[in-house]
Each structure stands twice: as C-alpha cells, then as structure tokens.
Point group: C2
Chain length 147, copies 2
C-alpha cells in the first residue's frame, strides 16, 4: 500500500468512474432507442418504485444518493406524465408517499426489460463468482469511503 505509482491511469477510482459512465451512457442510449422519453435518472426512480412503492421523497433521494431537490424535479416530470402520484401521508403530513400509477407500472415493466438487458450484456461471459467478488469489493470500498 502506498507504493510509488502516481499515474491516474492506475487509480482505482478511475476504473470505477469510467465503468459507471459506460453503463449510464448505455442506459441513456437504450432508453432513447426504445422511444422512452425519460432521462436515465427518471427511469431509475420509476423502476425503483417497482419494489418500493410508497417511498417518500427523502427515501428515494437516499436510495439514489442524490440531492432531494433532484428528486423533487424528477417526480415533477413523472407526475406530469401521470406515471406517479404524490400522496400526502396521513401520519406525517410533511411526507409525500410516491406511488406508481397503472400507466407508470406498465411503463415500469418495459423499463425493467431494458435494465435487465443492460445488466446481462454488461456481465456477459464473466464468471459469476468473479462478479460476486467485484460487487463485494465495491461494497467494501463504499464502507471505506464512509457511506
């Protein structure tokens, strides 16, 4: 650890960042190609509701690791297109619980196909044990970064 290196090419963060960008760009591209007029982030929010319907906005922000103002604006778009619904919680009137509409759920199903396809393409031909190790390393890096 700490040996003389000094080349950005070799820094771990570069590999992670570059790969993340590849996948994100691919997602954007596939969404466009499939005719969905959604940004990658909007699609992620919607897909996320598939198993977390009724999340409030703060939960969504935390889950995506983005500012809550961004979430507000993504939901503005999704709500305007009747894909999600903001429902004020009765237990805590500060919170909006976010639900996918039927239309949203329907779109979600087709988005999940796109996500799954990219996931499978990304990992194509890679030993699943190595993928598991990779994910574990990434998880521990996040821990080390204090998250």
């Amino acid at each position: 650890m700490g040996e003389q290196r000094s080349d950005y090419q070799e820094f771990f963060g570069k590999h992670v960042g570059f790969t993340a960008k590849c996948i994100r760009d691919r997602l954007r591209h596939e969404l466009g190609r499939a005719g969905h007029k959604l940004s990658a982030e909007q699609a992620i929010v919607l897909v996320n509701l598939w198993h977390h319907d009724g999340s409030n906005q703060q939960m969504i922000s935390d889950f995506l690791g983005r500012d809550k103002t961004s979430t507000t604006r993504w939901l503005d778009v999704l709500e305007k297109r009747n894909l999600v619904l903001r429902v004020t919680s009765k237990e805590d009137r500060r919170q909006n619980m976010i639900y996918a509409t039927n239309e949203g759920k329907q779109l979600c199903e087709s988005l999940l196909v796109v996500f799954q396809k990219i996931h499978d393409t990304a990992l194509n031909g890679i030993d699943s044990e190595e993928v598991a190790i990779c994910q574990d390393v990434l998880r521990r890096v996040r821990e080390n970064m204090g998250e």
Copy 2:
C-alpha cells in the same frame, strides 16, 4: 443470466454507479479540505498531465471519457491560474498541446498525494487479489458495453 429479478437494488450498474459517486464525492471533499480551489475534474486533468504532458485536448477528453467542450472549459480555468499552457502544435496547427507549468507541476505533486490517499483509503483492508479481480471485471464490463 436473465433470471427473474427486477429489483434495481440488485442491478450491477447500481453498485458501480454508487461506488463511483462515493469516490468522486470524497475527492471533492478532500480537495476542498486541502484548500485547493479546483473541481474534481480539473484536478484529474492536471494530475493526468503528470505522465501525459503535451497531450492535446482531444486526447484528454477521450482519456477522461468526457465531452471536448468540458475539456475546453476545464483548461480555461487551469490556464487562467497559470497551471497549464496551451501550445499550438507546429505539425498540426489545429491542435493545442497542453503542458503543465512549473506551478502546475508543483500543485500536481500535492494533488497526487490526495489521490493516493483516497486510493489507499478506498482499498484499505481489501485483499489485493480481490481488487485485481474487481478491476478485471470492470474492464470486461466496459468491453461488453462497447468501449
């Protein structure tokens, strides 16, 4: 491959994207804490010159995987602070060759310390063989994404 999953939580891209963000945020934070008034990207451009002095702007853009307009603007900032120099190539007058000034090189050294520290922190306590597997998986994912 392709088994029923449909939960964004489990998609590989999420782990990579989240980890990349952790590292990038940490870099921003450390740069601020160290008093360097540079964005993460500007720092990366400068550090990149350490072993690739004289790159043209297109090479820098490709290397960072970002738009060439972004590179133009990062260099505007770095040049204004006398950290880099744009030199028109004599072989091809369209190209600017980018060189770090002495001041830039000096700053670069201290930036490399920050980069190295984050790198080491990120990988702290993780078996180096597993890190190697992780990097290899990431590399193959990029290949699979067509980059």
